[in-house]
Point group: C2
Chain length 494, copies 2
């Protein structure tokens, strides 16, 4: 057995243990009764220790070094690159730091759940300072190992190859036109008369509607299922994707759009190539590319008037509201494309959303690079929210800088992926439009050619290409934010 083959075998073994963890993690969030939590957490922690041991096994260094001298196909070279990347990321940090981060993160996150509702910045700040201090240490070590800047070394964990230099250009571009665009859209939408759908919408019917939409969007129920959890996610494994949602009887659109979003993630997972199953090169390319698929489904496809023409009759029939003007296709379309600057990122529309991300990006970048301190966050938050969205957050920590979970456990570098995803989605859709009449296909309920394009250009590529290569092969150019701008202008001002 060659060293490359030994590495493949080792990483497949790792993948099988991760499979068990993914299913038990899904179960913990969606099925497990509360009383099972302590033992489950202990079992998952034991698994995490073991998979970390597998990923940092001493024999790997020699095997990687030998495998690089072996005659490998291009795909195998990509596979080796991805395995090595995982290994390097796992071995970079001393165990003592990983442990300290885990403790500080779970302490901060746990306390945050109460502190947020109490608007208690002072106590949260003390915990967050510890988390930031450890993340700065992590960034320093990763920067030395990779030659990247400190913040870039963290971004690289989620968005391999992406850098502050690119992000600054992209986000500065967005900042140059977004505030004005929001104002124009708001002015235009003032003319519209949108009716808010009035509940209750029975959970069983919402569930049936979700399943209808998942079928329409090609979700493979032989390789996945949908259940309920407090925080919706897309988990499981590519052969058995576990989507979750949360139904709100007062508003059927929140679960519905959430389900469509997760279906985009799910189809990416279900479309990953069987030939590279269980290997890092067979996994999704990056967080941003993953988000591009969920946003292509949720924003590009499903908020279009043509898609809502498919959706509305099903919703009217299931809820038995054929004559409810709130459930007309036109009203649902308007309701689902309403733009309004507000406090909360997760509730934001697709136009104001990038402002929430840019704000977080600028703060976490400077925080990790040591240019600002945790104490500076509330003031900066308020300044930027006021500047980008005209929203004042002074003294409002709950709906300001304490609203997200990400920083509590040290996930710095993740936020940019959301808006990169929206931009990739717009760029992919622009390329799809060059090959086919998207509106006509949706109108004909014939989405297959669109999914075929995604399967050919994105899903089946997994991580065989770098993100840049993937985007250039698929669209003819690297990431270009003009497609996102064009999409927003066409949809909201067109």
């Amino acid at each position: 057995m060659s060293c490359y083959q030994q590495l493949e075998k080792h990483f497949k073994k790792l993948s099988r243990f991760n499979h068990l963890g993914a299913i038990c993690g899904w179960d913990q969030a969606s099925m497990m009764p509360e009383g099972g939590n302590d033992a489950r957490s202990a079992a998952l922690a034991e698994l995490a220790v073991f998979t970390h041991q597998l990923l940092t096994a001493p024999e790997l260094e020699q095997q990687f070094s030998e495998a690089e001298k072996e005659a490998l196909t291009l795909d195998q070279q990509a596979s080796l690159r991805e395995m090595k990347n995982r290994w390097q990321q796992a071995t970079a940090l001393p165990e003592s730091l990983v442990e300290a981060q885990s403790k500080a993160g779970s302490t901060c996150e746990h306390a945050w759940r109460t502190q947020r509702t109490e608007n208690n910045w002072d106590d949260f700040k003390a915990n967050l300072e510890k988390v930031v201090e450890l993340s700065r240490q992590e960034a320093q070590i990763r920067a030395e190992a990779t030659g990247l800047s400190r913040y870039n070394a963290l971004v690289d964990l989620y968005e391999p190859g992406m850098t502050t230099e690119q992000l600054d250009v992209i986000f500065d571009d967005v900042k140059s036109w977004l505030p004005e665009l929001i104002q124009k859209i708001q002015a235009k939408q003032q003319q519209e008369h949108v009716i808010t759908p009035q509940g209750p919408f029975a959970v069983d019917q919402q569930k049936a509607l979700s399943i209808e939409m998942m079928k329409l969007l090609g979700f493979d129920f032989n390789h996945g299922r949908i259940d309920v959890s407090v925080h919706p996610f897309c988990g499981g494994v590519p052969t058995d994707v576990r989507m979750t949602t949360r139904y709100d009887e007062a508003d059927f659109t929140s679960a519905l759009m959430g389900v469509i979003h997760e279906t985009g993630h799910a189809r990416y997972e279900q479309g990953l190539p069987k030939a590279w199953a269980e290997l890092p090169v067979g996994e999704a390319r990056s967080m941003g590319i993953h988000e591009s698929q969920s946003l292509l489904f949720e924003m590009q496809l499903s908020r279009s008037p043509e898609f809502i023409n498919l959706l509305a009759p099903t919703a009217q029939a299931l809820f038995e509201r054929h004559d409810d003007p709130a459930l007309s296709a036109e009203n649902i379309t308007q309701y689902n494309t309403r733009v309004k600057p507000d406090f909360i990122r997760v509730d934001a529309d697709e136009v104001t959303y990038p402002a929430h991300i840019i704000l977080r990006y600028e703060i976490e970048r400077d925080l990790i690079e040591g240019k600002i301190e945790v104490a500076d966050i509330p003031t900066l938050w308020n300044e930027k929210m006021t500047q980008y969205l005209g929203v004042n957050t002074e003294g409002n920590y709950t709906n300001g800088c304490m609203q997200d979970i990400h920083w509590t456990d040290g996930s710095f570098g993740y936020f940019p992926s959301y808006t990169l995803g929206a931009m990739y989605a717009a760029q992919f859709m622009a390329s799809i439009r060059k090959e086919m009449d998207v509106e006509q296909l949706i109108q004909d309920n014939n989405l297959t050619p669109i999914f075929d394009w995604l399967e050919t250009n994105i899903w089946s590529k997994a991580s065989t290409l770098t993100t840049d290569e993937l985007v250039i092969q698929a669209t003819g150019e690297p990431l270009n934010p003009r497609y996102f701008k064009a999409h927003l202008e066409a949809r909201y001002l067109g």
Copy 2:
């Protein structure tokens, strides 16, 4: 850390991996879509290899030897005994044999699913011969390691301490009175006019009835749940017990009695002592004791007229059949205590059931000891079925010697546990009756004193005692089949 403590740590780690396997196994049977099966099976097989490595780790031999010299409490000595027992059972067999058994077993079981429906004894026989040959090798090796006879060495895996010598005495006793008892009961029941409940019984209502009965029987829904699977079982972990059932719209009693049965297993698991969680000594004592709890719930408690008086009004209300004579308490009682010799073990009533077990016991004992061959099974089956139950199975392999899954994967030595369970249940109930008026308690819907007795005498003991010690402490004497006989006579002829 003492060697005993090191062993505890090691076995707790093993238990956490088994936890992941139990949940993923439950998921495979109850939640997973078909398309997820290959990857799941690969993940569980990888886990099985790893847990076998843990259980046979080279350092354990030295640790056991040292730990036995350490100063230990009585409980710790029991804990050490149970850990050592697991280790010895796991290390006894060469890996080549375990692999060969796994292959032959899965080949035989897989083909059996088709061969059984086709009544194809000849092809099944060829596969079973390989399985038996390997089980004989296993029995020989375990016999040499333990000093037991070959068949006893297999029984010991399920019923530690139980031997053919005891089983022969017990089962010969049963054989001496069972055929006549069955005849008497049948003669008596000829007078009864029993109405078979007519479906359909909606699944949702059956589910609600199951949950009501589980609540009545004290199932802790904060540490467990109930779902659906093709083959009902009780899985999961003590802090999170996963029961399954299967609903038949034509007959609500099959799922109902199945649920009550599994609830007995579940309460044993939920009642295991927290102090010994994750250690072998904290697990259930044996298969027979486990079955005694399910049968105490299903047979002793729930087929009593007093319990059915609690159950019937709930069933009538849920199915909206207040005036259906088939759902009167009296009719359900008679319907659930009907005795009729028939082909199939799993469908047998509690009176004829032991005959099915004794027949299998006698055949598998002689098969493992080399006194008979696989080719002899059909003739022996027919002879014994005719002798014990008056049922002819000549040429009927499907409903004769090919009806069970157990032998297909080499689980020889397991069958006696079912009837031992029924006998332990009767003996425990006789002891409970000495302390309280069971009928009155059921009538008053006050089952707690009965459960308290079980918790004190059985559940909380886990594996701290041997089976004999457990039964003697609980009832004042070792296993005595006269309680089972007395129970049958009182219920069916009284």
